[in-house]
């Protein structure tokens, strides 16, 4: 998947994403980092079709997926997991997955649901329970599982670590490798730089709606400009006397 010069925002004159070129290769995990307000979430939401695109393109393979409506993005292989409210709390785990499978041909549905249950045995054990009764980590797993049912080529995760304890973050992120190896490329928007760099093949840094830095986790971890970017922001905030 690539984006070329993507311009997006909620209002036409006020773009939040201001011309972003982005490339994702097969079975790659690319982390999208950046300070608060940089436009990371808006960027991926625009790809998912939730935020209006005012310029540029989104290409999945050789298909132009820019203006495909959200509920059809999944047919182009794009699956998006939002940051909050990413499972149907009133539906059972099984129903959450069955819902996702409903767009597949009838013969395929049960098979894909079983495949995903095999990937996430924790969920299989509790398949009848309401998704609202799950813990934060389990919910995140369910959200990811739901996105994987249709066999997407691109999985986009918007801050999956939000609200989760470090241990659980580790568990969730440990799965990402398996998912990658099963043939899914992953875009990982994250505030938790450490956890993101630990699993990423590449990382990009978004600042003020534009792509500023790009490189391997090693490159970025040792780049002093990155540290300044984050420390600088933090330093400003700490300037208020106690």
């Amino acid at each position: 998947m690539t984006t070329e010069g993507l311009v997006a925002g909620y209002e036409d004159g006020l773009p939040i994403v201001r011309g972003v070129d982005f490339a994702l290769g097969p079975e790659e995990l690319v982390a999208v980092l950046g300070p608060n307000g940089a436009g990371k979430s808006t960027f991926v939401k625009a790809i998912a079709g939730l935020v209006p695109i005012h310029g540029g393109r989104v290409m999945v393979g050789s298909t132009d997926a820019t203006f495909v409506p959200p509920h059809e993005k999944i047919r182009h292989g794009l699956a998006f997991v939002p940051q909050t409210e990413n499972v149907f709390a009133t539906l059972s785990i099984a129903d959450n997955l069955r819902l996702a499978a409903d767009i597949l041909p009838k013969a395929e549905r049960a098979r894909q649901v079983d495949r995903v249950f095999n990937m996430f045995p924790d969920l299989a054990d509790r398949s009848g329970r309401r998704a609202g009764a799950l813990s934060g980590g389990q919910r995140q797993m369910l959200a990811i599982a739901r996105a994987l049912i249709v066999g997407p080529t691109v999985l986009i995760l918007d801050e999956p670590s939000a609200g989760l304890s470090p241990k659980v973050v580790g568990e969730v992120f440990a799965r990402l490798d398996d998912i990658k190896r099963s043939g899914v490329a992953i875009v990982l928007v994250e505030q938790n730089i450490k956890a993101a760099l630990a699993v990423a093949d590449r990382a990009v840094v978004l600042v003020d709606g534009q792509m500023r830095h790009e490189g391997t986790p090693d490159d970025l971890a040792h780049d002093p400009r990155i540290a300044e970017l984050y420390l600088g922001v933090r330093r400003n905030r700490v300037a208020i006397p106690a």
Partner: protein, 303 residues
């Protein structure tokens, strides 16, 4: 109070429950209280009246009552036609009015005001076309069957009860076991997430209108058969319908039906206690009680 009153209340409650199921579905997915839903019930009854009348005029033999019921084949056929016509009506109203207001992100108040306007229009169109005179599907009288325990019910009433329960069970199965039902429940909880999960939300909304209107048509035919057909029949049911939908918990089909039965029985009890002129107050009292004590109703989710 005698058990006969309870049975009468149960049957009245079945009609209310059926209408309330329609309201709870449209409410949970369209997210505003549609004051025009009562008119869908009235139009359903009148559609059936018109079609039955035409059929009866064209094929006189169809009007012979199917014993032991009071109506001939004209009514069941007309009822099915009424369901289809009602569904079409609902889609027309949605396309012309509500979907346009939705598209420009109108507030709830505007949607409700528009539904008020639509209700007024629809109700008065009926009165213009058919006049306000009460009408009936059939002139045949029915003899109530003794069921034991001092209870009596006419075959029409028993049939209506059975049909109401079957229809509601069908809707419940639709919601819990089918793909469309899952999609409806998903849209009811979180339309944006449903969108991401591949659900065609606009299509689901249209189907909900069709389902709600169909249920309203059945309720209208039932009420028309068991009581009478008037242009205000829907308006009179509106408060009990809303009360039942809220008591049952918005979005819960079994809840709406159960609540409808509860309200029907409560009305019967109240009528026995304080007189028939206070029947309409029962729904109001129940509604206020629910909103004060447990706003999510019996089976709803707390907001």
């Amino acid at each position: 109070m005698n058990p006969q009153g309870l049975v009468d209340g149960l049957i009245a409650g079945a009609t209310i429950g059926l209408g309330a199921v329609g309201i709870t579905l449209t409410y949970s997915i369209l997210r505003f209280s549609n004051f025009a839903h009562g008119e869908l019930i009235s139009w359903g009854a009148y559609f059936a009246l018109a079609v039955a009348g035409l059929l009866g005029a064209a094929f006189g033999f169809l009007t012979t009552p199917i014993l032991p019921f009071s109506f001939g084949w004209t009514l069941p056929i007309a009822a099915i036609a009424a369901i289809a016509l009602n569904a079409a009506l609902a889609l027309v109203v949605d396309t012309l009015l509500f979907s346009r207001l939705r598209a420009r992100n109108s507030t709830v108040i505007i949607m409700v005001m528009a539904s008020f306007g639509a209700a007024l229009t629809l109700r008065n169109l009926l009165e213009f076309t058919f006049t306000g005179k009460p009408q009936y599907y059939t002139g045949a009288l029915q003899i109530a069957i003794r069921l034991g325990g001092g209870i009596r019910a006419t075959p029409d009433q028993l049939l209506s009860l059975v049909i109401a329960l079957l229809v509601v069970s069908g809707v419940h199965l639709l919601l819990t076991r089918t793909a469309m039902g899952r999609a409806m429940r998903a849209v009811s909880e979180n339309p944006q997430l449903a969108d991401l999960a591949g659900v065609n939300v606009r299509q689901v909304i249209r189907i909900v209108w069709v389902l709600g209107a169909g249920l309203a048509a059945v309720a209208g035919v039932m009420a028309g058969l068991l009581i009478q057909i008037r242009p205000e029949m829907g308006l009179d049911l509106l408060l009990p319908l809303f009360a039942a939908a809220i008591l049952g918990g918005i979005g819960s089909v079994p809840g709406a039906m159960l609540a409808g039965l509860i309200i029907g029985i409560s009305e019967a009890l109240a009528v026995a206690a304080v007189g028939a002129q206070w029947r309409a107050a029962v729904s109001f009292v129940i509604l206020v009680a629910v909103l004060l004590v447990r706003p999510q109703g019996l089976f709803g989710r707390p907001e």
